[in-house]
């Protein structure tokens, strides 16, 4: 993390880094009685809690339970209709975010390298060429995700799993203190899934804060120390072992019936 910071000489980031160094396991994002709505429809209600710095949190819950809506609010795409979301040491744009499935246009005339290179967009001045160390770094992450031989290929030639791995490469280059993944495990092959789990562990080891929306409860209990169970209103939030109880899950199930959607918990 420290080496990556040095390559991004921005005052605010430097500040952010210093503060991270001083405050250890303090809150990164505090939510106070947050309600998120689309027009009259309230997707998330009365959510209060803390995403701790360096935590690895699974966000689970039934479809329509407001998981993606919460992510939108955390990435600054949606403003809470009431309550407050406070970022303590990071800003919404210091987030590496991977959207749900990819809604990307696979016929878009870009190469694998160009898409991965978007990861360094933030530190690249307008109209600047990629420096050779940038290119080395990009090829490096492509190698990690097993796409080094595809660097010059067009996006349209990739399989779904490969496209997903390309987005992981982009996330790695972004190297932000906060990583948010929206259903990254949905319909991916075994190899891609394994790679992603390794990456998440690695990021966790590097003290990044990671929030992941997922449905696979076996993965949650195996890899995620913290869990937020959300079904419109928060059912439980805390240590995964405390959250994943029969009582909580059936409460979420009951809520989901009220939401009028199928339950995936």
């Amino acid at each position: 993390m420290e080496t990556a910071r040095r390559t991004q000489p921005s005052y605010s980031r430097l500040m952010a880094f210093c503060v991270v160094g001083v405050l250890m396991t303090s809150p990164l994002i505090t939510l106070k009685d947050v309600t998120l709505s689309y027009g009259a429809h309230r997707a998330v209600q009365h959510l209060t809690g803390i995403f701790k710095a360096k935590s690895l949190t699974a966000i689970i819950g039934p479809n329509g339970g407001g998981k993606s809506t919460l992510i939108k609010a955390l990435t600054g795409l949606l403003k809470p209709s009431s309550g407050s979301i406070v970022f303590h040491k990071t800003k919404p744009h210091e987030t590496a975010y991977m959207p749900q499935k990819s809604e990307l246009d696979a016929t878009f005339p870009l190469t694998v390298l160009e898409v991965a290179a978007m990861g360094i967009l933030q530190r690249l001045p307008y109209a600047a060429r990629y420096a050779s160390q940038d290119l080395d770094q990009i090829h490096g992450v492509l190698k990690v995700v097993g796409l080094e031989k595809k660097a010059g290929n067009l996006l349209g030639t990739l399989s779904y799993g490969q496209l997903q791995r390309l987005l992981f490469a982009r996330l790695m280059l972004q190297d932000q203190p906060l990583v948010i993944l929206d259903e990254p495990f949905a319909s991916i092959d075994a190899r891609t899934k394994e790679l992603l789990l390794t990456l998440i562990q690695e990021w966790h080891g590097k003290e990044k804060t990671i929030l992941v929306i997922l449905h696979e409860l076996d993965l949650v209990s195996k890899y995620f120390p913290e869990t937020l169970l959300l079904a419109g209103t928060p059912i439980a939030w805390g240590k995964t072992t405390d959250v994943l109880t029969d009582h909580n899950l059936s409460a979420a199930f009951k809520q989901s019936l009220q939401l009028g959607e199928g339950c995936h918990v």
Binding site: T75, G76, L77, P92, H93, T95, Y97, P99, L104, D105, F108, P109, L110, T111, E114, V115, M118, L121, Q122, L124, Y126, A127, L154, G156, R170, Q174
Partner: protein
């Protein structure tokens, strides 16, 4: 052969016509590529109609002066864009619908204003232009717009691509995607204005859209698409002017129809996703 291909450009009016059209090709073509990538082709069409009343007022006041028509055009184009945005924000209409409402009003208004001059030739001039009437000051204005466009595009190139490929990602990284969107829309209006005199207000969009559409049937890589688009636009300008000269045709439609012919051919016979390709793949 010389008589056919080079001789016509000995005349000053043909030289100016050619220079202005080639200059237009250089900037309109890449703008068109981005217009298509951003799925804004119809928006471009609506914009090209929205500039009409302003251009008409400029024409009625100052005659066929690109400066006056251009200024009027930019003002009315921006007015329609803002009115549409306002309408979609304050009513239940979506932006495309409110845009459609205003642009057709603009066309009516524009035609009405020009017709106050009691001369159908005027109407033809404004709607379809004439590259042969390009004077020196218009030429300078057109080439300035080309230069400005290319410089700005070079600066925002990457941001523009990332923003239209993955808007959410761009917003999370750089924030404020609307600034680039705004700059790009401004470039579109500017290039439509540049095309007024050579191609006319109604056909100005042709130079932007047709070569860019054509290229997508031949290449997949963005750089190649951009090069082919510019090449196609340059070719259409040159051969369109020749056709106009030899067969005494209006220049705007001649150029746009050459570009149109290239597009139609590519649509059917192109090597990337053309009709032929699709049919062959279906049968195999």
């Amino acid at each position: 052969m010389y008589d056919l291909l080079v001789e016509p450009f000995q005349y000053v009016f043909m030289k100016r016509a050619l220079t202005s059209c080639l200059s237009l090709s250089l900037s309109c073509a890449p703008v068109g590529v981005f217009l298509i990538l951003r799925r804004m082709t119809l928006m471009g069409d609506a914009l090209s109609h929205s500039v009409l009343p302003g251009a008409a007022i400029g024409y009625v006041i100052a005659g066929l002066s690109l400066g006056a028509m251009g200024l009027g055009g930019i003002i009315s184009g921006l007015c329609v864009a803002m009115l549409s945005a306002l309408t979609s924000r304050l009513t239940h209409l979506k932006e495309d619908a409110s845009f459609a409402g205003f642009f057709i009003i603009s066309v009516g208004l524009g035609v009405l204003i020009i017709s106050t001059r009691h001369n159908t030739i005027d109407l033809m001039h404004v709607l379809f232009g004439s590259a042969l009437a390009v004077n020196q000051s218009a030429l300078i204005l057109i080439s300035s717009i080309t230069t400005f466009t290319l410089v700005v595009l070079a600066i925002i190139y990457r941001a523009l691509i990332v923003e239209c490929f993955d808007a959410a990602f761009f917003k999370a990284n750089r924030g404020k995607g609307w600034i680039h969107h705004g700059i790009f829309l401004f470039l579109v209006v500017l290039n439509l204005v540049a095309g007024f005199q050579a191609l006319g207000t109604l056909l100005s969009l042709g130079m932007m859209i047709l070569p860019a559409l054509t290229a997508r049937f031949w290449f997949r890589r963005l750089v190649n698409i951009l090069l082919m688009t510019v090449g196609g636009a340059l070719f259409s300008s040159y051969s369109g002017l020749l056709l106009a000269y030899h067969f005494n045709l209006p220049t705007g439609p001649a150029i746009v129809l050459v570009a149109g012919a290239l597009y139609t051919f590519s649509l059917v016979f192109g090597i990337r996703g053309s009709m032929m390709q699709t049919l062959i793949q279906r049968n195999s």
